[in-house]
């Protein structure tokens, strides 16, 4: 469908969801403060670790900060724009996927459009702050080339996260209790907030080759930090993102064939 139409629909959906979130004002503000506190405490863990050591997996504090910022940025973008992919299993289980299928928009696009979380926006901001502090304090160079690749990798990273989640969610067409599995895989994402060099080779390989979360934060960060051994891999990120999106979408289309409506519909 026409690109312009897609974007205008998307914009409308975004506004709708924002209004929904801010319906309960005080609760909304409290939620934001809560998320900021959660981020602060995670960062505090990193800072506390660095008061007792100079290097973690070969990363200094500023370097870890940049790594952390990269992971927050990718996560933030995914959570803000693409988070509705999490609702697929719920729709399939409750049979409410019908209302999505009936819309004059491709189901996958519809699902992607209808969900935005302000949480993502906050994460993104926190990520940018981390990056700024990391670059400034670490005295690391930053130029147009890096800026371009940062944006490219962050967006690609968001799509990688999206694709992995989509693949897991598609399993809902065959299994009923899939949400827990999705949550488990998503928890693996926590691993890549820290240098993957600190983990055993077994875990590291899973995070690179099987569930490529490393490409959402570690390799882009290595590129930002001019780390020779790893930065080369960052250039593959957009390619990996693209292929994963294609694979995930195809898998979803395939799964759709198995969809049995509950008959009730909405």
């Amino acid at each position: 469908m026409a690109v312009r139409k897609f974007f205008s629909l998307y914009g409308a959906m975004l506004l709708k969801n924002m209004r929904e979130s801010t319906a309960y004002k005080f609760d909304f503000i409290l939620g934001i403060l809560a998320h900021l506190l959660i981020q602060a405490s995670s960062l505090l863990l990193v800072m506390t670790v660095y008061t007792h050591t100079d290097s973690m997996g070969g990363f200094t504090f500023e370097q870890s900060l940049i790594l952390y910022g990269c992971s927050l940025l990718a996560t933030g973008i995914e959570e803000f724009f693409l988070h509705n992919v999490w609702s697929i299993s719920r729709h399939v289980n409750m049979g409410t996927l019908d209302s999505v299928l009936l819309r004059p928009v491709k189901p996958i696009l519809m699902l992607v459009m209808d969900g935005t979380s302000i949480h993502g926006f906050i994460l993104g901001i926190c990520g940018v702050v981390c990056l700024i502090v990391g670059f400034a304090q670490g005295g690391i160079s930053f130029g147009g080339w890096k800026c371009l690749w940062l944006i490219l990798c962050s967006v690609s990273g968001a799509f990688i996260i999206f694709s992995i989640t989509l693949i897991m969610e598609t399993l809902a067409f065959w299994f009923t209790d899939v949400v827990n599995a999705v949550v488990m895989v998503d928890n693996l994402r926590q691993f890549v907030r820290y240098p993957i060099t600190i983990y055993q080779p077994f875990i590291r390989n899973i995070l690179i080759f099987i569930i490529p979360y490393s490409f959402t934060s570690f390799f882009p960060a290595a590129l930002m930090l001019d780390m020779e051994e790893y930065s080369y891999y960052a250039y593959f990120t957009p390619l990996i993102a693209l292929s994963m999106v294609i694979i995930a979408s195809l898998f979803f289309q395939f799964g759709l064939k198995f969809y049995h409506s509950s008959g009730g519909g909405q």
Binding site: Y24, F26, D27, F28, I29, L30, G31, L33, A34, H35, L37, I38, A40, S41, S42, L44, L45, T48, V49, T51, H52, T53, S55, M56, G57, D177, V179, N180, A181, V183, M184, N187, L188, Q190, F191, Y194, I198, Y199, Q200, I203
Partner: protein, 269 residues
């Protein structure tokens, strides 16, 4: 008296049976905990490469701290959060019905919560025991006294956690939705209770804040007792502090409850 007890135990029993239904979310919760432990373990292993001890904590201490604190979190995560239940009842107006019931509202919620927790408690105990047998690094308390004090401390922690959750639940009446308060409470508690990082590892300048708040008594105190980092006398003092906080929070909770109920009655709900 017996009749009264039966009512509350009945609530506990119902919840306990219901929690068996949530088997899978339960298992995934355990696995998520294990993943958390794996990450923390990897991080702290790096730190201990160059140091033998940090602020009195050795590698084995840290490892044990991680395992025991995460086990406690399994218990305290309150799957069917009291906040959610209370706020649901308030939102749906069921609260009027509940107030007619011949049971004390908070007490009823407590027993429901306990029912939910039974499975979690069993798993947490199993977890700690298995770790104790499997990992050579895992420090096991050497005296029965320590174990008993640890268990007592955990009971106090459970109550403290419950009262905080219940209060948060009543406060949802003022914010109209439980989500914000739930996340805020979770964030504050996770951070200040010593769940992520042992409070002893924080710089001196920050640590005094923790001692004035009830949160460190939820995770930090019981685990320190487990690690036998306190002398007998210090243990006694810490248990007393927990007790005091428990009573303070209970009174505070009753006060918030009364204020909320009055508000509802005034609104004619």
């Amino acid at each position: 008296m017996r009749k009264k007890a039966d009512k509350y135990l009945g609530l506990l029993w119902i919840r306990m049976r219901a929690s068996v239904q949530y088997r899978f979310s339960f298992v995934s919760g355990i696995i998520s905990t294990l993943l958390q432990i794996a990450i923390q373990y990897a991080i702290w292993t790096q730190v201990f490469k160059n140091r033998v001890s940090i602020n009195g904590f050795e590698r084995a201490d840290m490892f044990t701290y991680l395992l025991v604190s995460q086990s406690l979190l399994i218990i305290f995560s309150f799957r069917n959060a009291p906040e959610r239940m209370i706020s649901q009842k308030i939102k749906q107006g069921d609260i009027a019905l509940e107030l007619i019931h011949p049971v004390q509202f908070t007490l009823a919620r407590f027993f429901e919560n306990l029912g939910d927790s039974v499975m979690n408690i069993g798993i947490a105990i199993l977890f700690v025991v298995v770790c104790g047998c499997v990992f050579p690094d895992f420090i096991v308390p050497k005296s029965i006294g320590s174990v008993l004090m640890f268990l007592l401390s955990v009971c106090f922690s459970y109550l403290i956690m419950f009262f905080i959750s219940a209060m948060a639940g009543y406060l949802t009446f003022f914010t109209m939705n439980f989500w914000g308060i739930y996340n805020a409470k979770k964030a504050i508690v996770d951070f200040l209770s010593g769940a992520l990082i042992p409070i002893a590892l924080f710089p001196e300048s920050v640590r005094w804040i923790f001692s004035y708040l009830p949160f460190q008594n939820i995770v930090y105190t019981p685990v320190m007792i487990f690690l036998e980092k306190y002398t007998m006398r210090e243990c006694g003092v810490q248990l007393l502090i927990q007790c005091i906080w428990m009573i303070v929070l209970m009174c505070l909770n009753e006060w918030v409850y009364k204020v909320s109920v009055r508000r509802i009655s005034v609104n004619g709900g």
